[in-house]
């Protein structure tokens, strides 16, 4: 009897100790950037992964800002991430991925959807990095995810601060610090099993981990940002390690230049940014690794507005009292608006003669905008987003052919719709999201878009996500 009670007591103590060690909003058990800087996650993020103005500077500064006097970090700045999700959309199966080996790609429950391990922080002196290794529960694969390794320094030019640096990365726009560009744009997470429109520009994720590149950037006076990066394929050569674990389906021929210009202006707690970015890439038709290549030119414009609440001197006292004297937290109300428009010219120099496309040249226009609002309080951060997306382009019956679910009856790439999302962050490192995507048009039209009786609204997606950082 006593033994049983002792066992129960021991079990209870173990559970209590485990709960105590759980990194829920505890200052000592934080992801690596926060551990390195001694600052709260909310100094750099509104609601992760969206960056605050300080978060942008921390990234441009090479992830090296830290509280230790040593030129390295010990223990190494490691962090982890786990995502579990539930998706509801027509045609999905009721198994649990990755445990269901037959219907894994269409299972409603993804447990986990994704597990990641990060090296995030200083590597040595002025060199720092964000290196993500991921296990994807839907594909049941491990791969090197996003990489951004930087050297950064700063000086004074014309009486103003100039941050300058180099970035080695494996996804165009992964290095960007505004949440308007594709790699870090809204929605910040989405279902891994729901159907998505067929057409997309190459800068909009098609070249993620398919290329590796090195670029140089400058940010002068917190006002003008200029960057140039040159990418090459990760299929072979020096950039091959940057695509580890990912099959190279898009083989880039030679060098693919990327450019970025952004202007940021601040007045009080408001930050406004307008910019342009783009890239040019020659890509071999699917299955080819030499010979003629298709040519893609993407030109994009973007804008971001951020209201950082009443953070700062006027609000700090109140927040510090709320947090028991710890670092000040971002203001009570945070509003962010993002917009981007991408135009892509597609010159099918190789694919058209092969009969893979119906036109010698096509184009795509993608437009996305969203408005986020977050309210911070003692109970956590709660907020939501409303977004609109649209892709339009030239009809091409060979490029967008009629196949069930993912195809197009009309050969049109046109899709548009809305995204509604609500987020709750009970602690610094946990986010619970509920997202609903409403399609107006999908691959061309609203009704019977694939020629097999499926409507755009059949792809409407309800997505619930628990996102945990540790």
């Amino acid at each position: 009897m006593i033994r049983k009670k002792l066992r129960k007591l021991f079990f209870l103590l173990v559970v209590l100790e485990l709960l105590r060690l759980l990194p829920l909003n505890t200052a000592q058990a934080v992801p690596s950037f926060a551990r390195q800087t001694g600052m709260r996650c909310s100094e750099c993020h509104t609601v992760f992964p969206e960056l605050t103005p300080f978060g942008r500077i921390f990234k441009l500064g090479g992830y090296v800002l830290g509280k230790s006097g040593k030129p390295y970090e010990f223990p190494p700045p490691l962090a982890g991430m786990a995502q579990a999700s539930y998706t509801e959309s027509k045609g999905l199966t009721s198994g649990v991925a990755p445990f269901d080996s037959i219907h894994r790609a269409t299972d409603r429950i993804n447990l986990p959807q994704q597990l990641s391990l990060f090296y995030g922080g200083r590597i040595f002196d002025k060199i720092g990095g964000f290196v993500q290794g991921t296990y994807d529960g839907v594909s049941n694969k491990i791969f090197l995810d996003m990489i951004d390794i930087r050297y950064s320094n700063n000086t004074i030019v014309w009486g103003k601060n100039l941050i300058y640096g180099l970035s080695l990365n494996n996804s165009p726009t992964a290095q960007d610090v505004w949440n308007t560009t594709p790699a870090w744009g809204f929605p910040f997470a989405s279902s891994g099993v729901a159907s998505t429109p067929a057409a997309g520009t190459i800068i909009d994720g098609a070249l993620d981990r398919q290329v590796g590149g090195i670029g140089a950037y400058v940010f002068w006076n917190n006002f003008i940002y200029l960057e140039g990066t040159v990418y090459r394929t990760t299929r072979s050569g020096i950039t091959k390690p940057l695509g580890a674990g990912t099959a190279t389906g898009q083989v880039v021929d030679g060098a693919a230049p990327y450019w970025r210009l952004a202007l940021e202006h601040r007045w009080k707690n408001h930050f406004l940014t307008i910019g342009t970015y783009g890239m040019q890439a020659d890509i071999f038709p699917s299955g080819n690794r030499s010979g003629p290549a298709d040519s893609f030119t993407d030109i994009a414009f973007d804008a971001q507005y951020q209201y950082m609440g009443t953070m700062g001197a006027e609000h700090m006292q109140e927040q510090m009292q709320m947090d028991g004297g710890h670092m000040a937290k971002a203001g009570k109300h945070i509003i962010t608006a993002h917009a981007t428009w991408i135009h892509e010219n597609q010159d099918w120099k190789a694919s058209f003669p092969l009969g893979n496309t119906g036109n010698p040249a096509d184009f795509l226009n993608t437009f996305r905008m969203n408005l986020n609002y977050y309210h911070t309080s003692r109970l956590g951060d709660i907020g939501g987003s409303v977004g609109y997306f649209s892709t339009t382009g030239k009809t091409d019956r060979l490029l967008y052919s009629s196949i069930p679910v993912d195809g197009s009856r009309t050969g049109s790439p046109n899709s548009d719709g809305f995204i509604l999302e609500t987020d709750y962050r009970p602690g610094e490192k946990i986010k619970i999201s509920l997202q609903y995507i409403i399609y107006n048009k999908f691959n061309g039209v609203h009704s019977d878009y694939d020629g097999f009786g499926r409507n755009a609204s059949d792809n409407n997606t309800l997505y619930a996500l628990v996102w945990f950082m540790f």
């Binding site: 800087t37 001694g38 600052m39 100094e43 605050t52 103005p53 300080f54 942008r56 500077i57 921390f58 441009l60 500064g61 090296v64 800002l65 830290g66 509280k67 230790s68 006097g69 030129p71 002196d125 002025k126 700063n154 000086t155 004074i156 601060n161 941050i163 940010f219 917190n222 601040r266 707690n269 930050f271 950082m308 953070m311 700062g312 001197a313 700090m316 510090m320 670092m327 000040a328």
Partner: protein
């Protein structure tokens, strides 16, 4: 001969001691400069004027070391305490005592002068 050598050694030592002291000072200054540039200037600025690249995005007001008011009272203890414990938006830093001392050395020899010149 021994006396001459002895005198020469003493003379050399006496002559070299200011140089040695200067070299130690130089090392301290250099160490402090490196630490300041790695740890402090991002907010407080290369010129110590509180206008580093991160000052504006922080929406706070990093201290301006080129203001003579900063250098009043027991400033060294104040700096040491702030580095150790943090203050307002500034986090606490894990620096060794000699590293903190080097930063204070660099700050007082660089920004204190600027503060005096500003007045």
């Amino acid at each position: 001969m021994k006396r001459i050598l002895g005198c020469a050694v003493i003379a050399m030592f006496l002559g070299a001691s200011p140089l040695l002291a200067k070299s130690v000072e130089g090392n301290e200054y250099g160490k402090g400069k490196t630490l300041y540039r790695n740890k402090c200037q991002f907010c407080h600025g290369l010129r110590g004027d509180g206008k580093g690249p991160a000052a504006e995005p922080l929406l706070g007001h990093p201290v301006n070391f080129t203001n003579s008011k900063f250098w009043q009272d027991d400033v060294e203890k104040k700096i040491e305490k702030t580095i150790k414990k943090g203050k307002e938006m500034m986090p606490a830093f894990d620096l060794e005592p000699d590293e903190t001392k080097a930063i204070i050395w660099y700050m007082s020899r660089t920004f204190k002068k600027a503060a005096q010149n500003n007045n």
